[in-house]
């Protein structure tokens, strides 16, 4: 059973990367290459920003996509989501335990469609939790709810 799951998982990853490699946006004006990841992005939003204001949820999705476009991070959505130590909720498995609400999906769609309340941020953190002191050296753009967003 486990083995089947493993094989299925590998096959899914392969299919995803093939998909990503061959898929192009359908028009300069139309949907983009991220729309296939609405579930994954909504899950990260639900796990990282539940209870945050709607704008803060869009912002978490935007940071994820800004990382994909940034040279300092993996160049794919799954790469960014699963980068070791990148998101606490991925490290501890929370993203697969919590079912995203309709609001999380709305926020994910907004982020995929280009809304970015962080104006290009690549980091966010909750200042009430212990964080790497290095992160405070990044230029802060804004605070939304319990999160600080920085470039």
């Amino acid at each position: 059973m486990r083995r089947i799951l493993h094989v299925a998982f590998l096959a899914a990853i392969l299919a995803l990367s093939a998909f990503l490699f061959f898929w192009q946006p359908s028009s300069y004006a139309g949907p983009n290459q991220y729309s296939g990841y609405v579930d994954l992005i909504a899950r990260v939003i639900a796990a990282e920003a539940q209870g945050e204001p709607f704008e803060g949820q869009v912002a978490v999705g935007a940071v994820l996509l800004n990382r994909v476009k940034h040279s300092g991070f993996p160049n794919t959505v799954p790469g960014v989501v699963y980068q070791p130590h990148a998101f606490e909720s991925v490290t501890n498995g929370l993203i697969w335990q919590r079912t995203p609400s309709q609001t999380a999906y709305n926020a994910a769609r907004n982020a995929i469609n280009g809304w970015d309340p962080t104006y290009g941020c690549i980091f966010f953190w909750n200042p009430s939790k212990p964080v790497n002191s290095w992160i405070w050296s990044r230029p802060i753009v804004r605070w939304i709810g319990n999160h600080v967003f920085a470039r």
């Binding site: 898929w23 192009q24 946006p25 359908s26 028009s27 300069y28 004006a29 139309g30 949907p31 729309s35 609405v38 204001p53 709607f54 704008e55 869009v58 476009k69 940034h70 040279s71 300092g72 991070f73 993996p74 160049n75 790469g79 980068q83 070791p84 130590h85 990148a86 309709q102 609001t103 999906y105 709305n106 769609r109 907004n110 469609n113 280009g114 809304w115 970015d116 309340p117 962080t118 104006y119 290009g120 941020c121 212990p130 790497n132 290095w134 992160i135 230029p139 802060i140 753009v141 804004r142 605070w143 470039r151």
Partner: protein, 443 residues
């Protein structure tokens, strides 16, 4: 009685021992499996960097255009591979960002070179840059070898690679210390500036479309309240939240119920974006009415005249993309997006970031090729459906005036959008239209 107790106890101990052993070996398998994944990533990283280094050397000494093109392609592949494996290392991001930047720029730069120099020789400037990259790639490759020698990566266990925070900072750790040294060294290397998406200057490009005087917070609040009033049809008393210090400095406001957020740019008082938190569960408004509401809504802000370029209805909302038209060409870089709720026709969200970042005075050249001539450039396998003029982003820094030709694969349902340069007649891009799975394409 006592005997029975001993027997039960004995069975329990045996069961516990069996259970513990099972747990232990399962954990052992999992730990070894995980450290093997990390070790593989490390070795792949090292070999990709070595290969990229060798090919940089080849580019520098080769006299053949074909050999140069091959090596550039190989550098691109190796550098992006190395970047993917690097960002898979169980290390804090602060240690990886600069190294990842270096590898992405190396891959991206050699990709841009192979495009720019197709069939022609490298310029002196290109060579100088490549020499520098060669030096840096070589020292990166040496440092990775050194990490391997000192840390014996293959033997590192899951415990060694565990989160940084659980490690004693005073104790030397050849693995993470090695990556820190690499990052520090590369930080002293000037960042690479060229025409590509990962170029060092891309993240800090100044907005081109910010025009006007700096406005006060009160003035911004008045504009924000007016816009939200037009969007929702009711008066909302917004309150100031904060100064937003991004590339587009803005005033941020929110509604008392904290369901509406809007940013107004400090320069020019433009709506940079707003969002509304509302779950919508039914469609009661026609797409036509929703579209008209969006058009009317944008007309009240000071944008030039806009055309709808795309729309998508999904989840009881309608997303509309607007772009200005100049001399008959759609300006795709300058998009403004609006979302309309299909339960009551109100405006839910607006995003003018692309417009504010990219809009500028443009001189649009007269097309040299006609639409008919451009269509004739299409592959024989395609039949054109519709054609229009459009300005598209060509590279990170340049734009091109193109014919956007929507075409169908002959005898099939598949559709493509082909961009043919209106000045050179060259095909510059092809997009595959993904058949709509979610929602309906209405335009």
């Amino acid at each position: 009685m006592q005997r029975l107790t001993y027997v039960v106890l004995g069975i329990l101990i045996l069961a516990l021992a069996f259970f513990s052993y099972n747990q232990y070996s399962a954990r052992q398998t999992a730990e070894v499996g995980l450290s093997n994944q990390y070790a593989r990533a490390f070795f792949e990283l090292t070999s990709s960097v070595n290969s990229a280094t060798a090919n940089l050397g080849k580019v520098l000494v080769s006299k053949s255009d074909v050999q140069t093109a091959q090596s550039l392609a190989q550098i691109t592949r190796d550098a992006f591979n190395a970047q993917a494996y690097l960002t898979n290392m169980p290390l804090p991001q602060s240690m990886l960002v600069r190294t990842s930047e270096f590898l992405n720029q190396l891959g991206d730069y050699s990709l841009s070179l192979s495009r720019a120099t197709a069939g022609s020789a490298l310029t002196d400037e290109n060579r100088k840059m490549l020499e520098e990259l060669f030096e840096n790639a070589r020292s990166l490759s040496n440092q990775l070898e050194e990490i391997q020698t000192r840390a014996e990566v293959g033997k590192l266990t899951w415990k060694d690679l565990r989160d940084e925070s659980q490690r004693d900072p005073a104790k030397a750790d050849p693995f993470s210390d090695g990556f820190q040294v690499i990052s520090d060294d590369l930080s002293r290397v000037p960042a690479l500036v060229y025409d590509g998406p990962f170029s060092a200057d891309v993240q800090n490009t100044a907005p081109k479309g910010l025009k006007g005087d700096e406005i006060s917070k009160e003035e911004a609040e008045r504009i924000a309240e007016q816009v939200i009033n037009q969007a929702t049809g009711r008066k909302v008393d917004l309150r100031f939240v904060e100064d937003v210090k991004g590339l587009i400095p803005a005033y941020g406001f929110e509604s008392p119920e904290r369901d509406i957020y809007i940013d107004i740019s400090k320069i020019g008082g433009m709506v940079t974006q707003f969002v509304t938190a509302r779950d919508i569960d039914k469609t009661q408004v026609s797409l036509e009415e929703a579209t008209n509401n969006a058009i009317e809504f944008l007309q009240k802000q000071n944008w030039p005249s806009l055309d709808i370029t795309y729309s998508l209805a999904e989840d009881h909302t309608l997303l509309l993309n607007f772009a200005p038209i100049q001399d008959g060409a759609v300006l795709y870089p300058d998009l403004i997006k609006v979302v309309v709720a299909l339960d009551n026709g109100q405006i839910l969200a607006q995003d003018s970031l692309s417009y504010i970042m990219n809009h500028q005075e443009r001189t649009i050249p007269k097309p040299i090729f006609s639409a008919k001539e451009a269509e004739a450039e299409l592959s024989d396998n395609l039949e054109p459906i519709s054609t229009k003029l459009a300005v598209i982003p060509r590279t990170t820094r340049t734009e091109a005036l193109c014919y956007e030709i929507k075409a169908r694969l002959k005898g099939r349902d598949e559709e493509f959008i082909v961009y043919v340069d209106a000045l050179t007649g060259q095909e510059v891009n092809i997009l595959y239209v993904v058949p709509g799975t979610n929602g309906t394409l209405t335009l």
